[in-house]
Amino acid sequence: MKNRNIYLLLLPGVIFLTIFMVIPILLTIGSTFINEGSFSFDGYLHYFQDKYFIGILLTTLKVSLITTFICILLGFPVAYYISKVGTRTKVLLLLLSIFPLLTSSVVRSFSWMIIIGKNGVLNKLLLNIGLINEPLNILYTPTAIIIGLVHLFLPLIIITLVGVMENMDEDLLKAAESLGASRLGVFAKVVLPLSMPGLVIGSILVFVGSFTAYTTPALLGGKQRVISTFLYQNATTLNDWHTAAIVATIMIVVTLLVTITMNQIAYKINPKG
């Protein structure tokens, strides 16, 4: 095959994405600027003055950021360990860690209900030990959503981090040590910066996933709305597709903004990543 024709390989994918993704998204975004037949920002102005909507947006942001943060904290040591073990153990551990992704999110959410519900396993245990006097109210709060989302998205960060850590030259860590770095120093000055590419991709996946998640917040959040359940409510229950399109556009913009910010932070820590 001639090299200059190699871009033809992209064609099927590009055509598919253009018809089924790019055009619909552009149409959706375009429709939000049309109000009663003329161009206007009214739809957006309305929503950014609506305290209820802003509240939902901020809660969703908060939940997604906390989820991402917890996933990083939990995922880093696990990924580091997995990247150091032998191939056979590695495959087994990776399989185990992606297990949450292989189960249905409905089943997963109902399991969490049983565990963190008012009369759930967790409360019974804590009451019996005597750590608490009355049951904790976790289910149907943002905390419940965070627990569910961390469970769901932790594998993403583990997989992306194992990817970069596997390729990290063991001698770099030895070099840092021989120059006088403690274990913590090696981590902060070498492992962390070199993990940045994987960390950024993992974090973006977790954040975007959490920000747009539907099933988990719908089942574990109860009355607590997040932006995707709000969108669903507008579109199907209230049949207000115009509002739904505006909410969708806001979701896209916020997701892009956070993604860009994360990239910037990563660039500061490791300019060569």
């Binding site: 030259d169 001698d171 770099l172 030895k174 070099a175 840092a176 040590e177 021989s178 120059l179 006088g180 770095a181 403690s182 120093g185 000055k189 070498v190 910066p193 070199l194 940045m196 490791n270 300019p271 060569k272 990543g273």
Partner: protein, 354 residues
């Protein structure tokens, strides 16, 4: 007094002994090379000195203090890796400054020391570059600068030149030697390249299967190997296992299958337990049979079996009553395969090894 000592060190990996009862002493300011084929334990020894490996038993003494359990980051030894191991996310300046920052040096001190060490390795002006933007030789010089700047008590090299091409290797080994001499840092250098070790070191330790076969200055090793392994490793391709020996005042008389050989006494041959004669392919003289009717002392009759053209010389493999010998000789008119010849083994070129 020795600067540091390895005492009865044993290291096992996967139940296989890599080093057993290993002993080594190194004097201050010396450049010592560990040389041997892969798997001989030279890298293990180096990593043990660095602290990357723990010994199963034995002691590592540094200036008389027990360093066996001192962690890597408290040893203050500089280590130069085969693959450079430069931090890809840091500039050359930051790579070199890495150790100084950990030692909480002041900003002006860091700038001064980094500048001066980059000058030593001839890389001034490269401070703002990243490792990726440098050639292999430049990267290795950065790695050396990074190890030097912490003013290490010991400098350790793990095959630092094996990723470089031949010309660069020669330049770099001269550089390394110059820097080591200038700063007088005690250095341990690991390589499998014989010429490199000989060119660079005060002392060479030839290692085989976890033990040191011989530790001497390069010229002694090159001319007077003590064991068959060392002799073979440094190019004595021909060996004769003698049956009997008589020791005279200045020479040793040996016999094999009725042929008599005289070997001059020298540094290596004073011990009488070496019964194997070793000689380099370059040192055997090959003559046509007609010149002498019968083979005398230090001579063997033979027949050319294989002839190979090496450019500078011809290599002959000659079949004799006591085995095949390899001979290199510069000749305009070479011997033909099947031709009858006489091989002469000069008494001062044969050594006896264990």
């Amino acid at each position: 007094m020795a600067l540091f000592t390895l005492e009865n060190i044993s290291v096992a990996y996967n139940k296989q002994n890599i080093l057993q009862d290993f002993n080594l002493e190194i004097e201050e300011g010396k450049f010592i090379s560990l040389l041997g084929p892969s798997g001989c334990g030279k890298t293990t020894t180096l990593r043990l000195i660095a602290g990357f490996l723990e010994s199963n038993n034995g002691k590592f003494l540094y200036k008389g203090k027990d360093y066996t359990k001192v962690p890597v980051n408290k040893r203050n030894f500089g280590f130069v890796f085969q693959n450079y191991a430069l931090f890809p996310h840091l500039t050359i300046f930051d790579n070199v400054a890495f150790g100084l920052r950990l030692r909480k040096a002041s900003k002006s001190e860091i700038e001064k020391k980094v500048a001066s060490v980059l000058e030593i390795v001839n890389l001034s002006g490269f401070e703002k570059r990243y490792p990726k933007e440098l050639s292999g030789g430049q990267r290795q010089r950065v790695a050396i600068a990074r190890a030097l700047v912490i003013e290490p008590d010991l400098l350790l090299f793990d095959e630092p030149l094996s990723n470089l091409d031949a010309n660069l290797r020669e330049n770099m080994r001269i550089e390394i030697r110059r820097i080591q001499q200038e700063l007088g840092i005690t250095t341990v250098y690991v390589s499998h390249d014989q010429e490199e070790c000989f060119a660079i070191s005060d002392q060479v330790a030839i290692m085989n299967k976890g033990i040191i076969e011989q530790l001497s200055d390069p010229a002694t090793i090159y001319n007077y190997p003590k064991t068959k392994f060392v002799a073979d490793f440094i190019g004595f391709k021909n060996f004769i296992d003698f049956e009997d020996q008589k020791i005279h005042e200045n020479e040793i008389e040996l016999t094999k299958s009725g042929f008599t050989f005289i070997v001059q006494k020298n540094k290596a041959n004073t011990s009488t337990d070496g019964k194997t004669g070793a000689i380099r392919p370059d040192n055997i003289v090959i003559r046509p049979l007609k010149e002498s009717v019968t083979a005398g002392k230090n001579e063997l009759p033979g027949k050319v079996k294989i002839r190979t053209y090496l450019g500078r010389s011809y290599q002959f493999i000659v079949e004799t009553p006591i085995g095949d010998f390899t001979i290199n000789q510069e000749l305009l008119v070479p011997y033909q395969v099947g031709e009858e010849v006489i091989l002469e083994f000069p008494a001062n070129n044969m050594v006896l090894v264990k």
